[in-house]
Symmetry: C2
Subunit: 223 residues, 2 copies
DNA sequence: ACCTGAACACCGTTCAAGT
DNA sequence: ACCTGAACACCGTTCAAGT
């Protein structure tokens, strides 16, 4: 294909071509995040990874929150589609919840980045749109569909935040937790100490989603 | 009462008496948080509020995370007690969830502070202990009681994080959200745009807790 | 048009020295 | 024992100047 393409012709570039672009910057930022964690992801560290001066970044992002928002938005890529394949809405909601958790888990501190921003990008809105679509297709009112999706999404964020929190923090507080449970101050917790210690996050997550889905099943629905 | 008190005698102080203490420092930090938000709460800002040099703070807190952890722990004061008064476990669980949300809402960025720390202090552990106690008293197994409390607590954190997120961020993204919903890209979301816009957080919260409690009701219980 | 280089006004943390 | 004062190694952000 060497003839004139049917896509819009690229504007004739004036001046020197950019060494970086938003997309590459976000991808590199996510790589730094994975390698070194959110606390180490500074504008200067990202600039170094892009082999560019710090100030250059401000031609692509208004400020650091804008960078983080772009990262959060990118994380949800692939969550809105395809339409969940489950046989009923319960399975479909579960599938969407799992999708979001896995998307956040894919990056170190992913939930912390996502929770700290307020993105209105296509991945986030598309995901919410699919979620609401699944529920309205199941006969929920538009209001309940929105409420239900928000409930599940907020649980996913709360859960994954906790799940990833251990990645950064020392095991020091695990020890202090053990010491606390060894006292007689929290008898009901101590009876289940083996659970709190183990931290089977996948199990906790599935339990939570199952409870949520079961609870939503009690709501009135149209045929 | 001027005689010798029955409390342990204060150790004879050597050197000059401390100008500050942990408790006053945490209280002042929470005041700064409320007045100026988490991003403005720097060690230097807190030192200024305490009328002390920055370095002094490191005699009371190992580092900034330790400060934030102490603040998070303090926020949950009064959540573990009294035992919830509701007539059944559903009402009691709801009461505990509301208690935690209100405790986090009491301080600006409260959920963000709490979610960013990993406290094993008596308020946090005591709250979990009460939560698990309510559920085991209702006949849930110890395992389910722990799983259920964690599920509810993580929903509360996820929800309140979102609820408080608007406090700091500009209304700029509300506008961009409106623009996005005005397109035809998110038909199911757009159908419920009036809900997403309004943001009746209390309603969302009650809906989520109700769904969660209803779902937990499906689990097997002992007499 | 895009990037550099340098500056500004901050951070968290450490530590000798004072009292 | 407790605090000061000063330093160290960083931050995010801005902006004139270069090419």
């Amino acid at each position: 294909m060497t003839g004139p393409s049917n896509t819009a012709p690229a504007r004739k570039p004036r001046g020197r071509p950019p060494r970086i672009d938003q997309e590459r910057a976000v991808a590199t930022a996510l790589a730094v995040l994975d390698a070194e964690g959110l606390d180490a992801l500074t504008m200067r560290r990202l600039a170094a990874a892009l082999d560019v001066q710090v100030g250059t970044l401000y031609g692509y992002f208004a400020d650091k929150p804008a960078l983080l928002t772009a990262m959060a938005e990118r994380m949800l890529h692939g969550c809105a589609e395809p339409w969940p394949t489950g046989p009923d809405w319960q399975a479909q909601v579960t599938e969407l919840a799992r999708r979001m958790r896995l998307a956040l888990l894919r990056h170190r501190d992913g939930a912390r980045v996502y929770a700290g921003t307020r993105t209105t990008g296509p991945n986030t809105l598309g995901f919410a749109d699919t979620f609401v679509g699944v529920l309205t297709a199941a006969g929920f009112t538009a209001e309940d569909a929105v409420r239900a999706s928000f409930t599940v999404i907020r649980f996913v964020i709360g859960h994954t935040l906790e799940e990833q929190a251990g990645d950064d923090r020392l095991a020091a507080d695990v020890e202090s937790l053990h010491r606390a449970l060894a006292t007689e101050d929290y008898p009901r917790l101590t009876a289940a100490a083996h659970m709190i210690t183990s931290a089977d996050f996948e199990g906790y997550f599935e339990f939570g989603v199952r409870a949520l889905v079961a609870g939503l099943g009690e709501l009135p629905r149209n045929p």
